[in-house]
Symmetry: C2
Subunit: 230 residues, 2 copies
DNA sequence: ATGCAGAATACTGTATGCAATCATCGTTCG
DNA sequence: CGAACGATGATTGCATACAGTATTCTGCAT
């Protein structure tokens, strides 16, 4: 590996991680895993004590949580965990599909053989998780694969927008939806092939169909859940 | 008008506007109009004194400015006005086109005759500004028209994402680009017609071409500016 | 003259304190 | 008995104060 210099270019880490960022991540985690339920009133003092910090980092984290759509911040009333509506979730899914379709096109235009190899690795990780029927690992592998495709599109704006949308989608659907299973990963394989061939149009179309399938899959599950009065 | 209840539903305003929001808006304005230049180091204490508030509202506003892409916040170093690259701007344009295309489709599905009438009003405002050759008014009318189409799509996620992208685009291009002129407004008219007919596919395609034209128009101007070494 | 080491400075990150506002509950009047 | 009013407790909004870190300047050695 001649491209391994004397100092492996680790990211400019070692920056003292600001407390507010740790708080931000802690709170998103608490929201995603359901410790903080939708609509719940978040009291700054409680969070501060619970996390062992002062109110200031909490407040700064809440600002970012609001713009990311995790909480609603009402003046003089405080923060409330955002309650997504069914309509909003459908919108999230359609927008995510749109953005991912675009990123697949970009990936097909910019990917190097090395990138493709990495995609196949991630695909294999997903297949392994699929065999083990490890739902958590499947979701994670799926996010990793889609995330890497976005990265390959070399589009900073997409890379910034998609995670915001994607995390919210996953947060809402995780409790009620099961991963799609083998079909999805077959579609992944064909998308990777198209990207590897450098066929933007083909990759775009395949991704469009893939996200459409995913959207329909989830919408059916929602309809079932809502239908039985849950 | 039977839908006018005893209490006209004015938005639940009159909430004491938090200082942090005023600061947020003041800073975006300062960035857009160039008082704060890209790459400039924003010192909290200076901003605080300049705006006559303490550092706390400044810090909270900076958090939101970061997630909105206006500033880069480096740990232990402070806030710097974001410096957009040419590549990033092209990406912003393409993503905006993507989102607006989607919103045009949604608008065609949901718009009422009353909504259409409003669109024609906005169109007329734009034409008036065009005749008066008032660049500022043209840009504003354009934003108003596109914004209303987004609103008609009844898609909260789009309504949340597009302004973020759009404002950054306008910020970067305003100093170097002139409005497109009559062509753009002819395209607008045809888009409104398609929305009025309730033809999602047609509205989508027209908007796609419109945004593509706009993107190319701006990219040519950039190339010209960069080409002459400015 | 130049490169480096060390201290001084300036700024950010965090904590705490106080005033203003909102929600809740008990009371009183119609 | 119901509804409006007022007091009280809790919570947010803002300001100030202190600690930690990065940058810069100065002086010295090479």
């Amino acid at each position: 590996m001649p491209d391994t210099p004397t100092v492996t270019a680790r990211g400019p880490i070692n920056r003292p991680t600001p407390l507010r960022q740790a708080v931000y991540e802690a709170l998103t985690e608490l929201i995603i895993n359901g410790s903080l339920k939708p609509g719940q009133h978040l009291v700054e003092a409680e969070l501060a004590e619970s996390l062992g910090v002062s109110r200031q980092p909490i407040r700064e984290a809440l600002q970012r949580l609001q713009t990311a759509g995790w909480v609603d911040l009402r003046p003089s009333q405080g923060a409330f965990v955002h309650s997504p509506t069914t309509a909003e979730c459908a919108q999230l899914l359609s927008v995510r599909g749109l953005l991912e379709t675009h990123s697949a096109r970009g990936a097909a235009q910019h990917a190097t053989p090395r990138d493709i190899a990495r995609l196949w690795e991630l695909q294999q990780t997903g297949l392994t998780a699929l065999e083990a029927a490890d739902a958590r690992a499947i979701v994670e592998a799926n996010a990793a694969l889609h995330g890497h495709i976005t990265l390959l599109s070399r589009n900073a704006v997409l890379a910034e927008l998609i995670p915001q949308v994607d995390r919210r989608v996953r947060w809402y659907y995780m409790p009620i939806a099961r991963p799609r299973g083998k079909d999805a990963w077959n579609e992944h394989a064909r998308i990777i092939e198209a990207i590897g061939e450098g066929s933007p149009g083909r990759a775009e179309e395949l991704m469009r169909r893939h996200t459409r399938n995913t959207t329909e899959f989830y919408c059916r599950q929602i309809a079932a859940v809502v239908g039985r009065g849950d």
